[in-house]
Amino acid sequence: MAALEDEDRLRYAWQLDIAGFGEAGQLRLLQATVLITRAGGVGGCVAYQLAAAGVGRLRLAHGGPLRLDDLNRQLLMSQAGIGRPRVELAAERLHALNPHVRIEPIAANASPENVAQLLDGVDLVVSCAPLFAERLALNQEAVRRGIPLIDCAMYELEFQMLTVLPRRSACLACLYPEEPPAWRRRFPVFGAVAGTVGCLGAMEAIKLLAGLGEPLMNRLLLGDLRDMSFRRVGVERRPDCAVCGAAV
């Protein structure tokens, strides 16, 4: 196995001493490719943390230009960037933080049409998409390819997170056998809530990539920052799941 370079030892010095991580864990991060979709309030925070931690390659999928009302939570952006493609702004900020991370910006959101391409060659997916059609398409392709997926979601002061280890733990379609009704574009949320679930998703990603700790399998993490309550509820694989069930 390759060894860390001196600059890496210095850049990542504060995390190299973590029990169960060390140089071997760092090398796993450096060699990993992670797809993050999208790179807004939640996904931007995931990407920022993974770039800081030294994940080798980040593929960001996010369509559309930056708007003023994105700035309460999308911390990779800047006022001066309004009107520019968000994924480009995200790539610039990540590069400024850690120029060694290779960023693959893709100016499109995930869809059933492009998920095969988006997941090609990735080791892990962090889904931070607002639409169920998008999340379920990512889940389906991740399960089909056996790629772990972390699904992050938020509403107002609440958030939830589910880790999918394909065919080993409940997938997103086990939790939602039918696609929930569509949402309106804007829903209430603080940037700090997006950042909370984004940091949790990033930590879960680091753990999975480095083989550290216990993944959140068959558990849905629910957090409510209104009263700072956090709990894990059990979710089981459905034998008849259309995505990961026995017949698929």
Binding site: R38, G40, G41, V42, G43, G64, D70, R73, Q74, S127, C128, A129, P130, L131, F132, R135, D151, C152, A153, M154, Y155, E156, E158, F159, Q160, L175, Y176, P177, E178, E179, P180, P181, W183, R185, R186, F187, V189, A194, V197, L220, L222, D224, R231, R232, V233, G234, V235, E236
Partner: protein
């Protein structure tokens, strides 16, 4: 039997409370609970029940921290969490 119901996400606003205690006859199921709640709080009906009076498919129900189906009996259950699906990221 008495069950504590906790509302998450949009349900909390529709219910007007974060949690409440509900009395149910022994042997009541998840669906019985949902119908009782819909009767007591009409604003919840569209979130809990579908057009034919069954459990709304997208509603998540957790009984003592485990996901359950509409037909599940609530005997011995202390707390039920009701949750509408929540999404992330923003556009």
């Amino acid at each position: 039997m008495t069950i504590t119901v906790r509302y998450q996400a949009q349900l909390r606003q529709a219910a007007g409370v974060a949690s409440e205690s509900v009395s149910l006859p022994k042997g009541a199921t998840v669906l019985d609970l949902l119908r009782t709640l819909a009767e007591q709080r009409p604003a919840l009906t569209a979130h809990l029940l579908g057009n034919t009076g069954g459990k709304r498919p997208s509603l998540l129900v957790f009984a003592d921290d485990h996901q359950v189906e509409a037909t599940q009996s609530l005997n011995g259950i202390v707390e039920v969490i009701l949750m509408t699906p929540i999404a992330g990221g923003l556009f």
